[in-house]
Symmetry: C2
Subunit: 193 residues, 2 copies
DNA sequence: GATATAAGCGGACTGGTGTCCGCTAAGTCA
DNA sequence: TGACTTAGCGGACACCAGTCCGCTTATATC
């Protein structure tokens, strides 16, 4: 445990953190498997500083893609305004799948994070869970989902998304997976009323 | 690539491989995250010998649990003899889930292997795929599965199994997951005839 | 048994993750 | 502006995965 809880940071610390993120975005875009030590060096900070900010690769990746993650979570709210809840859910899952295939590094991070109790601690991860909960709540409201389904259940159900191989025919593969999952999610739904 | 294809091994080589597996079983039972170098040392072989036999941790784990894996795949055939195909499938998935929770190291290995093109190369993995294909074929025969479902689809659908946290209420969690997946697998099934 | 040969050995080495801890300098208060 | 306090720094370090290559020795052949 380090001083990562609250209170104002020292200004140099904040600058360092931002420089790391800047460099990380650039480097991770070039190759997913850049050594973290290289990112630290290019950002002009020591190993210690780097790891104090991002205790492991997953934490860094999640933070680097925070912007994209926020786009995704915003999309959930948007979809709920413009579509029926079940369509919104399905469409959102498709966006998620596209995202997973495009950002392999993020898929790796998600595989690591899902199913560890440390998961919800990640601030970026919490956003995704919130978006999911909103989607599920809207669907439960109108009775298009099986009863008792939680966000955790949902996350496990779509775990396959993070495993799809981006080479090969991922479009067909993810479509088949999502069809199947969607059917599972909706089976036994009480229906409207 | 090394001489891992066929032909008779030298006797000392075979002895070494067996000693490694012996030690690995003991060590992995004590703790899942034993350093591979320690296993090599305790088996009295060099790093080179170790890695020639097992190019990475997953390969070793898969081989160590080969016996258990074979029990599992045998169970598939057995279930198909004694039950209706859909019940057999469901029961087998439950065995798989129990297995995944019990052998955390194997879950880690499976997460690594699923979704990489290197997966099917693992001999132990191929056995599991065969078992799955038999279960699916039997179900397709009697029309209890959605059409066009392949073993790959199935593996992705149950990917969540490898993510279940063994601490916490994994029984309820896996039951909910399997209910959901099963409904998805069966949705749109043509039915008998 | 002596010889040839290549399968197999094993440990030094590379490169990466994550930790530790003595030191530096930013913020604070007078 | 100077002294004090401590958050934060950063690089040496420990440890592990995986590779490489000169050497050893099991086996085949005579």
């Amino acid at each position: 445990m380090d001083s990562r809880n609250d209170g104002p940071q020292r200004s140099d610390a904040q600058r360092n953190r931002e420089r790391i993120l800047e460099v990380a975005l650039a480097e991770l875009s070039r190759a997913e498997d850049v050594p973290l030590s290289l990112i630290a060096k290019k950002a002009g900070v020591g190993q210690g500083t780097f790891y104090r900010n991002f205790p492991n690769r997953e934490a860094l990746v999640l933070e680097v893609y925070r912007h994209e993650v926020m786009v995704l979570t915003d999309a959930a709210a948007e979809l709920l305004k413009t579509r029926a809840p079940d369509e919104a859910l399905r469409e959102w899952m498709e966006q998620l799948a596209r995202f997973a295939v495009a950002k392999v590094g993020l898929s790796d991070a998600m595989r690591q994070i899902v199913g560890t109790s440390a998961g919800p601690a990640q601030p970026g991860y919490a956003l995704v869970v919130e978006a999911i909960e909103a989607l599920l709540a809207a669907n439960h409201e109108v009775g298009t989902l099986r009863p008792g389904l939680t966000a955790d259940d949902f996350i496990l159900a779509i775990a396959g998304i993070w495993q799809i191989d981006s080479s090969g025919d991922w479009q067909a593969q993810s479509a088949r997976l999502l069809d199947l999952v969607m059917d599972g999610l909706c089976a036994g739904a009480p229906g409207p009323g």
